[in-house]
Amino acid sequence: MRRRYLVDRSVRYLLFFSALISLFIVFMIALFTLREAWPAFREIGLLNMLTSSEWRPGRDQFGLLAMIAGSVWAAVGSMILGVPLALAGAIFLAEVAPVWMRGIVRSSVELLAGIPSVVYGLFGMVVLLPAIRRIPVAGNTGFGILAASIVLAVMILPTITNIAEDAIRAVPREYKEGSLALGATHWQTILGVTLPAARSGIVAAVILGVGRAVGETMAMIMVIGNSIVLPRPLNSNPLTLFLSQARTLTGNIAVEISYATGLHEDALFATGVVLFVLIMIINSSANLLIRERRR
């Protein structure tokens, strides 16, 4: 009798302790990054780092604007390409697919999630770049935001599909049954009732996908070109912005951290802080949107 009580208590402490460790680790990472980045913020200035597009460590210039733009454009591109595809997949899995097909499609999507990012980068370099190079625009090297967006779209597909599918499934049956009883077709029901009802979950799924896109490093280094330029259209067509080369915040850190010393190293940690804040903003807006919908 006493032993059961002891086991119960110790398991309780163990779980409490494990949770505390995770909290502790996140806290320590944030603290460490901020501490290493502080000299950079103090000497270079936060405003200067966020608004200057000149990143030249050899001349003590550490402007992150070009990298912020690179990360943002790559994420935007991945959303344009990936979100419709992922949502279509989620709707298909939740509403349309016959039972035998669900297993196959879901496993394939989950397999996508298991592929290492460097393999995506390899695929991008060997298959995507020559294909994109065929687009007849002057200055198109294949490397650039389009390649990055395609790779990212495939990488965030499983994340969005998974969560969006759960959100759609969570819509109460009564909504669907009511709509169908009123004479709506299946598709009218999906479009007019199910999707709006699942809206908060779908938005959360998309934002989590975007968070993953912003954090991706290895595949980005391999296909985006790593050029320190502000992405801009290559000719009069504004869409050619996506053919411009760029560098992401994550790529900036990964390419230079192994040899950076002194202020340069601190500036890279500052890049990390900017990334941290960007992802926190993205995740908080997700939470805010969910909470608002629940009201």
């Binding site: 190079r133 490397f143 070109g225 790593n226 330029v229 192994s258 040899y259 950076a260």
Partner: protein
Amino acid sequence: MRYAFVSTLLLASMLLAACGSPATPAPGPGSDQPTATTASEPVASEITVAGSTSVQPLAEVLAEAYMGAHPEIRITVQGGGSSVGVKSAAEGTVDIGTASREVKDEELAEFPDLQAFIIARDGIAIVVHPDVPLEALTKDQVKGIYEGSITMWSEVGGPDAAIVVVGREEGSGTRGAFGSLIMDDEEFAMVGTAILQPSNGAVRTTVSTTPNSIGFISFGYLDGSVKAVAIDGAEATVENALSGEYPVVRPFNMLTIGEPSGAVKDWLDFILSEDGQAIVADEGYLAVQ
């Protein structure tokens, strides 16, 4: 509840104490055992080498040759770039750091105990995609291309196509040497649209697969996949580099903190000996003796 609180507090404070202690031992002038970077490591049975991707293939061959005669020693060679080599050697993370350029004054000022040993010289080849119909360029043309003042192949005698510039990251020794020798400025500003790749191998792959591209790689990485152009009339061959006709030649440095000793010294002596330098020449680099 009280027990849970106290025990977690205890364990948390233990973790904090562990995190508080410094991670890297400071390399001091008195340490004449550079191989012992942590107190518990066995001395002189393993040599770790890291740094320049240009030096890497040569270092690997030299390591194999030495390990063949001394099976009790293990030498591991990594890349990362010349600045990684300098930094790792200076901080004691590796036994030997390699660089494919001269050590900078700022680096010597920051790490005064850094010792550099030139083990070979190497040429930097300017390479283009095999389909580019050019065999020669002048130094000023290459400089203009990498500055961004020359943007079309037609400006230098080629077809009417935009030049795709491929370069290395800022910490690269190859880039630094290329800067000093071609751009007349080690810290030159590469044209913003250049594609930056993190190693000689990556540059070679990019140039060989990207039409209308130009890049620079170590002589040791030349193979059939890219075309090396002559610079100021001199072809990119070892003979021309030896005679001095080919202008783009830089030193391969091996760096240690303090005087090398034990297995590290032994290996360095081997590299600088006749046998070692014969291997250097065989691999397509320039011997220093």
